[in-house]
């Protein structure tokens, strides 16, 4: 035996739901790193710890049920084992379903790895009346078996030295795989054929180095396609070997009336059954497990939908309604940051601010609008983590699978849709990230492409704005419409996609293990909620800030033409001259002689007014007075006039101030008219007029591609008139809309387009990450734009022609869409035509 290595690598392998990640966390603590396996979008989680001998690197393999080559995760896990050859494997097994877990253990043992078994969740098994003799199990398997309870950190102390002991039996770099460690499965009648194939494989030195030969022989007899590829790569006479394998398969099938593949499974199952029989003592005879008792209520055929609706309602109430109330507490902090930033920046000019000031404030505003949602997201993601960890998410998938199935989707599309904001409001970015869990490619792509239709939280301000202006009387109908039309349209689109362009993609059956209910741990829930929220904040930190700059530039440049500028400057000068005229005979004439002094006076007057408004109590108000009096003794009488002369002058100052802000507003608006976006918005008017959008709406929609939040912000800038009379944006849009003939029908077409509108930039980037293709990213932008515009134009044009009002158009469209969705659900799925073999075809291509 060679001396023990100091630094070793451990592969963490096991089936889904065996508690692999809790064992991973238990072993490595916070030292974790997530990357991708090369070339694929499968997460590779690594972590490490130190023991007395050195560093131990732990690689968390994808959770798979076995090590065949039928799914991406399985292939990734197997390639990793063959290529990286970890020094030992830690096999995590759910003690309460030992028999099935053993199938996996057998496959790793067959690959000739030293194995340590973490017999996890022994407490659950004990509660179910199963006592497992782990020492005996270890003796029979020829490996160390350590009972663990990952959630409580039990077994950590025993696992570490056991892994060292297993890894001690070291291989050299090029020696190939040695004889199998531990138990060798006896395939009885098939053994002679395995031996024969084994002989053939020994001929190739390359192959001896690359793979464990007995494993290879078994895989070839099983008909494993990846094993065949390995054979062709490493064995010079691969065809001769394959002939021998085919002959052996035929002979065996002839004699035994069963395929070798089935026979192998049966042998493994028999062995697993006998191990369970020898090592498991049943202390409670056939009790109904606790989770099943809960399911008799929660999954009761008639009550299940009621509990589901209650759950979704609870999520909505706690995260959106209560979370929104929380934002009233957090908003002042964000507003404080803004005014603090404003204080640091150069003072505003008379009519034109410096670039530094206006651009910085623009960025702070953009980031603030996004950060405002953080409390909502924290609550929402924590609740969803509770659903996942408790096991209820799998039940939701079970209840809803039939619905999704009709539209080419999958029960496991539920989580992405919920994160994306079905009914409630969410964010497509974490939604698309969650599509990783969907096993088949077709539903996964269809889900990725339809999650952005959900009610993203950032769409809600625009909906609220439009609904409260144009549909105040029908508020609840409109809100119901918005929250359900999105899912209806998403289903229609999913069906269209899966039966057309996604037609040939891999599909997978809905074969899902129903996990036991668990009490979620506080740490687990917090960790997930914070992680997902952090992803959202990073989006704010990077993409949105970058895009905010671009949008700023496109909205501000090329700027006003010189003659308009001169016109505004002229009007301002007139106003200043009038003010000077008013103060000519007074003591202030000298102090305010030059332009800078007047500007200073105006700015001080503004901050004074803001400070007075912010002061909530009489004392605070007096304190503000005292402060300004001390800071600006000469001009304070103008701010707070005490004699008739000062009162007159103060009135004159106020009218100067009003004129200034009117002019600034007019400039801001005209700047947008002349800006690049304004030009594009106008250029699009001939197309968008069929949907009833004028150029202002176009500009808002274009800028909201960067981030939805900016739609309302941009509209706020576009509908400036009256901003200074403290009118709300609702009132301003209402007034101006009435003047330009913007009707509820226009508003409805806008709502509809916004619901179908392409995902925001951050989401499209996530589409790229999850599909690994720019083609799908482009598709996710272009398709919804065209489709949304077509639907909005169709609805607007036809409704105008029929003379329908906004609310009539809404009802008409709703029933039309619902009817289409129901009709489409009866359309047979193209994948159903090839029962049983649906997955494999696309893979070879």
């Amino acid at each position: 035996m060679s001396p023990a290595k100091k630094n070793i690598m451990i592969g963490l392998a096991g089936q889904q739901n065996a508690g692999k990640s809790t064992i991973f966390n238990m072993l490595t603590g916070a030292n974790q790193h997530i990357a991708n396996y090369p070339g694929v979008t499968v997460d590779k989680k690594t972590g490490n710890y130190h023991d007395e001998l050195g560093r131990v690197e732990v690689v968390d393999l994808p959770g798979t049920y076995s090590l065949t080559s039928f799914s991406l995760e399985e292939r990734v896990a197997r390639d990793f084992l063959l290529r990286e050859r970890p020094d030992a494997i830690l096999n995590v097994i759910d003690a309460s379903s030992l028999r099935r877990g053993l199938y996996f253990t057998f496959q790793i043992l067959e690959m000739s790895f030293p194995v340590v078994m973490a017999l996890n969740m022994v407490d659950v098994a004990a509660a179910q009346g199963r006592k497992i003799d782990h020492e005996k199990l270890g003796r029979l398997l020829g490996i160390e078996v350590v009972p663990t309870v990952g959630r409580k950190g039990r077994g950590k102390l025993e696992l570490r030295p056991a892994l060292r002991r297993a890894a001690r039996e070291e291989r050299g770099e090029d020696e190939g795989f040695q004889d199998q460690h531990g138990l060798r499965i006896n395939y009885e009648e098939l053994e002679e054929h395995i031996a024969a194939v084994h002989e053939h494989l020994l001929e190739s030195e390359n192959l001896v180095k690359a793979v464990p030969l007995r494993w290879m022989a078994v895989k070839l007899l099983e008909g494993d396609s990846e094993a065949l590829k390995l054979l062709r790569r490493h064995h010079a006479r691969a065809d001769a070997v394959m002939d021998a394998v085919s002959a052996a398969t035929a002979a065996f099938q002839e004699k035994m009336d069963i395929t070798p593949a089935d026979y192998i499974v049966t042998c493994r199952d028999r062995l697993a059954a006998s191990l369970v029989e020898q090592c498991v003592e049943v202390t409670k005879a056939d009790t109904v497990r606790f989770s099943e008792k809960i399911d008799r209520v929660l999954l009761h055929r008639a009550f299940a939908p009621i509990f589901l609706v209650l759950t979704v309602y609870l999520i909505y109430e706690l995260s959106i309604v209560q979370g929104y109330k929380l934002t009233f507490l957090t908003w002042p902090a964000l507003a404080w940051v803004r005014s603090f930033a404003a204080g640091l920046l150069p003072d505003p000019g008379l009519l034109h601010d410096t670039m530094l000031r206006s651009m910085s404030l623009w960025m702070v505003d953009s980031v603030n609008t996004l950060l405002n949602y953080v409390p909502i997201f924290l609550i929402l993601f924590a609740l969803i983590a509770i659903l996942e960890d408790s096991g209820y998410m799998a039940r939701i998938a079970f209840i809803l699978d039939r619905v999704f199935q009709s539209f080419g989707l999958h029960g496991q599309s539920t989580l992405p849709f919920i994160l994306g904001g079905v009914f409630t409001g969410g964010c497509a970015v974490p939604g698309i990230m969650a599509t990783k869990g969907i096993p088949d490619e077709r539903s996964r792509l269809a889900t990725i492409l339809t999650v952005p239709y959900m009610n993203c939280l950032a769409k809600i301000p625009l909906y609220t704005l439009l609904v409260s202006i144009y549909f105040a009387a029908y508020k609840s109908y409109l809100m119901l419409f918005i929250s359900t039309i999105t899912i209806i349209m998403a289903m229609i689109i999913a069906k269209l996609l899966t039966s057309t362009i996604l037609r040939g993609r891999e599909t997978a059956p809905f074969v899902m293990e129903m996990p036991n209910y668990h009490m979620p741990t506080l740490m687990g829930v917090l960790r997930r909620a914070v992680d997902r929220t952090w992803v959202y904040i990073k989006k704010v930190g990077t993409i949105v800030v970058a895009v905010a700059i671009v949008v700023y530039v496109l909205l501000q440049f090329p700027g006003l033409p010189a003659e308009r500028m001169a016109y505004f400057d002229g009007r301002m000068n007139e106003a200043v001259a009038a003010f000077h005229e008013d103060i000519r005979e007074t003591a202030y004439a000298e102090i305010l002689a030059d332009a800078a002094a007047v500007l200073n006076l105006l700015n001080v007057a503004n901050t004074y007014r803001e400070a007075k408004l912010a002061a909530s109590t009489q004392e605070a108000s007096s304190a503000v007075d005292a402060r300004y009096e001390a800071l600006h003794p000469e001009i304070f009488p103008l701010l707070r006039p005490r004699d008739p002369e000062a009162r007159n002058l103060s009135r004159s100052l106020r009218s100067l101030s009003t004129e200034r802000s009117n002019l600034r507003t007019a400039i801001r608006e005209e700047t947008i008219v002349y800006s690049y976006f304004g030009t594009v918005g106008r250029a699009l008017e001939p197309v968008t007029k069929y949907a009833g959008f004028d150029w202002k709406i176009n500009v808002a929609l274009i800028s909201s591609f960067a981030a939805r939040e900016s739609s309302v912000a941009t509209l706020g800038v576009l509908f400036q008139e009256g901003a200074d009379e403290q009118l709300s944006l609702e009132e301003r849009m209402g007034q101006e809309g009435a003047a330009t003939g913007f009707t509820p029908l226009h508003a409805f077409a806008l709502i509809l387009f916004f619901a179908l509108y392409p995902p925001c930039l951050a989401t499209t980037i996530m589409v790229k990450v999850q599909t690994g293709s720019y083609k799908w990213m482009l598709f996710s932008i272009i398709f919804p734009t065209v489709f949304g515009l077509a639907v909005a134009s169709g609805v607007f044009t036809i409704s105008s022609w029929l003379g329908l009002s906004g609310i009539q158009a809404m009802f008409g469209f709703y029933f039309l869409a619902l009817g289409t969705a129901i009709g489409l659900s009866f359309l047979p799925d193209p994948a159903w035509k090839r029962p049983g073999t649906a997955i494999t075809h696309a893979k070879e291509a």
């Binding site: 099943e292 029960g411 059956p509 293990e513 494999t840």
Partner: protein, 94 residues
């Protein structure tokens, strides 16, 4: 326990012919034994991984509100299958 709740099982055992049927036709609460799979490739593999191996005993637990998918007990854990896949598994009464 489930056997009393299951009139169709009782009928099958009484008639004693033990004829094959597909897993879809097993009534809630009934137990059956797997005879063979008619699925291929990945679906077959996933079914095998989840314990739908020949001769395994399966107990039908429930179906979802809309009649599909089905939940069943395989040994000591619970698995859901769509009817389309369950149709590919031949069983006989246990």
């Amino acid at each position: 326990m489930p056997l009393q709740e299951c009139p169709s099982c009782a009928q099958t055992t009484q008639s004693g012919n033990g004829e094959d049927q597909t897993l879809t036709n097993v009534a809630n609460g009934c137990r059956c034994r797997i005879r063979r799979h008619r699925a291929h490739g990945a679906i077959r593999q996933r079914l095998l991984d989840l314990g739908f191996v020949p001769n395994a005993e399966i107990e039908m637990v429930r179906c979802a509100t809309l009649g599909d998918p089905l939940e069943m007990r395989v040994g000591d854990y619970y698995v859901t299958l769509r009817k389309r896949e369950a149709d590919l598994i031949d069983v006989r009464a246990a």
